[in-house]
């Protein structure tokens, strides 16, 4: 039983709780092949999606999950809301809670916003990505995909490559994977490796070949072009040369290595097209699994919560 009222981050969850979410998602994923996909366990619930940052996969995936569970979804377009009139975040969420919504799904460019909302309303808050802090449902779907493909995570070697410093996906993955006993290595330009990340429970390797060697999973992160302007790296050409995931580099990993990417991809920058579309990629599988994970999270926070 999930011992939380919110999903703020994987740093707050135990290994048992993570495994429970993965199990629940396995159950929901079975529905995908049935003619009737809906399980209206949340048919009296309405959630609001509060996206202060753009998103395709996460937002679409939460919307799909809500539809499949029969929940209503209140679409909150930040750009046309009173946020533009200077309403504070705290006032916005208190107003939404007063309308009677049953939960808040939030994405924001600043770390700690889900915690701030949870302090100010008494309905479940689900973090859909906050600053560089956490993106728990992404890491859960990554772990779900790993488990589905390889059976278990404990002892597996996971290498994450890219802009580690500005990545919430990395942080949630490190928290979750290390709790489940995986061996996590991060790699990227040294200017994009944040201070003290080893203390979160991962290894830092600078040479991409060394980082990939013997990996069971390679998780490739999106390179944000604006980082080039900040002098974090000189050009996408040099980035691709030094850190890009190419077929010859993939050969250094385990034979049955799986390639993952949280999207959106820059083909020819962090990943070559033949790897992205290659036989060992599970990138689109991750997207399908995202729906199952989000169903599990919503169900466990909202349906089971009432049953308690």
């Amino acid at each position: 039983m999930l011992n939380q009222n919110h999903l703020l981050g994987l740093k707050y969850l135990s290994a048992t709780e993570i495994k429970e979410i993965l199990e629940q998602a396995t159950y929901f994923k079975q529905l995908f092949n049935r003619p009737v996909k809906q399980v209206p366990t949340l048919k009296n619930k309405t959630l609001v999606s509060l996206f202060y940052e753009p998103s395709t996969r996460t937002k679409g995936s939460f919307d799909m999950a809500m539809k499949m569970l029969g929940a209503g979804s209140l679409n909150f377009a930040v750009n046309t809301s009173s946020v533009n009139k200077g309403e504070t975040l705290v006032d916005t969420v208190k107003n939404l809670a007063s309308m009677g919504v049953d939960g808040i799904i939030v994405r924001h460019s600043m770390a700690g916003v889900p915690e701030l909302i949870a302090k100010n309303v008494d309905i479940p808050v689900i973090n859909a990505g906050d600053g560089f802090n956490e993106h728990p449902t992404q890491a859960l779907l990554d772990m779900f995909t790993m488990t589905e493909e390889k059976g278990y995570i404990e002892g597996k070697k996971v290498t994450i490559i890219g802009d580690i410093k500005h990545s919430r996906v990395v942080r949630s993955n490190i928290w979750g994977l290390s709790k489940l006993g995986a061996e996590v290595t991060v790699c990227g330009p040294a200017s994009l490796i944040p201070h003290g990340i080893e203390e979160m429970g991962c290894k830092v390797v600078h040479k991409v070949e060394d980082a990939i060697k013997g990996a069971d999973f390679i998780n490739v992160l999106r390179v944000q072009f604006e980082r080039q302007k900040g002098s974090y790296f000189p050009s996408s050409r040099e980035y691709y040369h030094e850190y890009g995931i190419t077929p010859s580099r993939v050969k250094l990993a385990k034979e049955d290595v799986l390639i993952m990417h949280p999207g959106p991809m820059n083909r020819g920058v962090e990943i070559s097209t033949d790897v992205a579309d290659g036989p060992y990629n599970v990138i689109l599988e991750q997207v399908s699994n995202g729906v199952a994970i989000r169903m599990a999270v919503l169900y466990m926070l909202l349906a089971r919560r009432n049953a308690r």
Binding site: K11, T88, L89, V90, H108, M110, A111, G112, V113, E115, L116, N120, D130, G131, F132, N133, E134, R168, R171, P194, H195, G196, I197, E199, M200
Partner: protein, 425 residues
């Protein structure tokens, strides 16, 4: 009216004496044993210590312009309730204090309020815009004690050179907020393992240290600088070395830098967000050693009041700064005196004698003929910080809930008892 303080232990930087203290017309008339005076208001201060009035070199009083956060009235009252007899106000108000009329306005308001004394500072550059220097001489004639663009770093070292040279005949300090904004990268907390862990953008220590190094090397040739709110071990080392080389540099730190570390922000606690940010345990210990060996000359609060609304928001967006006037003496006595073994003489030096010298005012000692600004403390009295303690308009303190020992019990300014604790008869 005369004031007679009996049976107190008088502390100066060079020692103790247990005597009575007679005050008349704002000045110390007599220090002797067994003074009697029928016309005086008498307090028995057995077991208490009488210290030269504490001067807080770094206070944001917010008036004019941000009266919802603090006013001169609430701020100067908060100061005396915390045992502070004089404060230096920072000029980053709206409008900026960059001319004699505003200095005069502040001095007049403080005189009307008659709580803590006000030693205003003016801005180094007009409107704190960083280019033309302000009218230092006119402001000094009206009571300004130093010049600073606090809150904004002075990025152009040539402006610093000109300000130092121009000001050098007047014996008032240029007070520097040392921060390389490019290195600070708009961060919100100390950069390190914790900022990585909780995903907040960091302010690397190099942003403070690089700016201090640059300022020291400039001051070496052109004048005297006072460095604000030192927060890192590296900064302490730079200042220590500069003093050995004979550079005219003084420096202050704040109680939060010797009390707390970055772990106070772990739950996105905006009441522990300030600039420079709380650092690590290693830094905290280096700050204490800097205070102990005299590298750091003064304890100043950087009292920065903000309303609850200014703090109840996204951590990155929340205002920098915490209040400190009411808690400074408590923190200093409990941490430095009780836990770290500082003597009361050392504390007088850090909180009164050195600050007076830095801004060039005649204060900081208890002797016949001196102005009677006094901080009276009970080193054994316990305290617990609650919201109710704060007389300031704002209550943004990371110390709420904390308890300890040693606090001010009575404050005398110009020979008047401007505040006393209930237990003082």
């Amino acid at each position: 009216m005369k004031l007679l303080l009996k049976n107190a232990t008088i502390v100066n930087i060079d020692g103790f004496e247990k005597k009575d203290l007679l005050i008349d017309k704002g000045r110390i008339l007599k220090i002797a044993e067994n003074i009697t005076d029928d016309k005086a208001e008498v307090y028995d201060l057995t077991g208490k210590h009488v210290l030269p009035g504490f001067i807080d070199l770094h206070v944001h009083l917010r008036e004019p312009g941000q009266e919802e956060k603090e006013t001169l009235s609430t701020g100067l009252k908060a100061a005396v309730c915390g045992g502070i007899t004089a404060v230096c106000s920072m000029p980053n108000t709206n409008p900026v204090i960059d001319n004699k009329f505003l200095i005069k306005f502040l001095k007049d308001r403080a005189w009307e309020i008659s709580k803590a004394k006000l030693y205003p500072t003016g801005s180094i550059t007009k409107a704190m815009a960083g280019s033309e220097i302000s009218e230092f001489a006119a402001m000094i004639r009206n009571g300004a004690v130093g010049f600073t663009d606090d809150g904004l770093p002075l990025e152009n070292m040539c402006t610093l050179r000109r300000a130092l040279e121009y000001l050098s005949p007047y014996d008032k300090p240029i007070i520097l907020h040392c921060e390389d904004r490019a290195l600070a990268e708009g961060g919100a907390m100390n950069e390190g393992a914790l900022s990585t862990k909780i995903g907040l953008p960091g302010i690397h220590r190099s942003s403070e240290e690089a700016a201090i190094a640059q300022s020291i090397e400039t001051a070496k040739y052109f004048g005297r600088v006072h460095i604000c709110h030192v927060s890192t071990k590296g900064s302490v080392e730079l200042i220590r070395a500069a003093k050995l080389r004979g550079v005219k540099v003084t420096a202050e730190t704040a109680p939060h830098y010797f009390m707390l570390t970055e772990s106070a922000v772990e739950e996105y606690n905006t009441n522990a967000k300030m600039n420079p940010p709380l650092r690590t345990e290693e830094d905290r210990l280096a700050i204490i050693e800097g205070l102990r060996d005299g590298t750091l000359d003064a304890i100043a609060t950087d009292h920065a009041p903000h309303t609850a609304d200014d703090k109840n928001m996204e951590f990155n967006k929340a205002c920098f700064g915490i209040v400190g006037l009411e808690t400074s003496v408590m923190m200093t006595l409990s941490k430095l005196y009780h836990e770290e073994g500082f003597s009361l003489e050392q504390i007088v030096k850090l909180c009164s004698f050195n600050p007076a010298n830095i801004i060039g005012v005649n204060s900081g000692k208890i002797a016949k003929g001196e102005v009677a600004d006094l901080t009276i403390v009970d080193t054994e009295k316990g305290w617990k910080v609650t919201e109710k303690l704060f007389k300031s308009k704002s209550k943004n303190s990371p110390f709420i809930g904390r308890s300890g020992k040693g606090r001010a019990v009575m404050t005398v300014v110009d020979g008047n008892v401007v505040w006393k604790e209930k237990s003082i008869g």
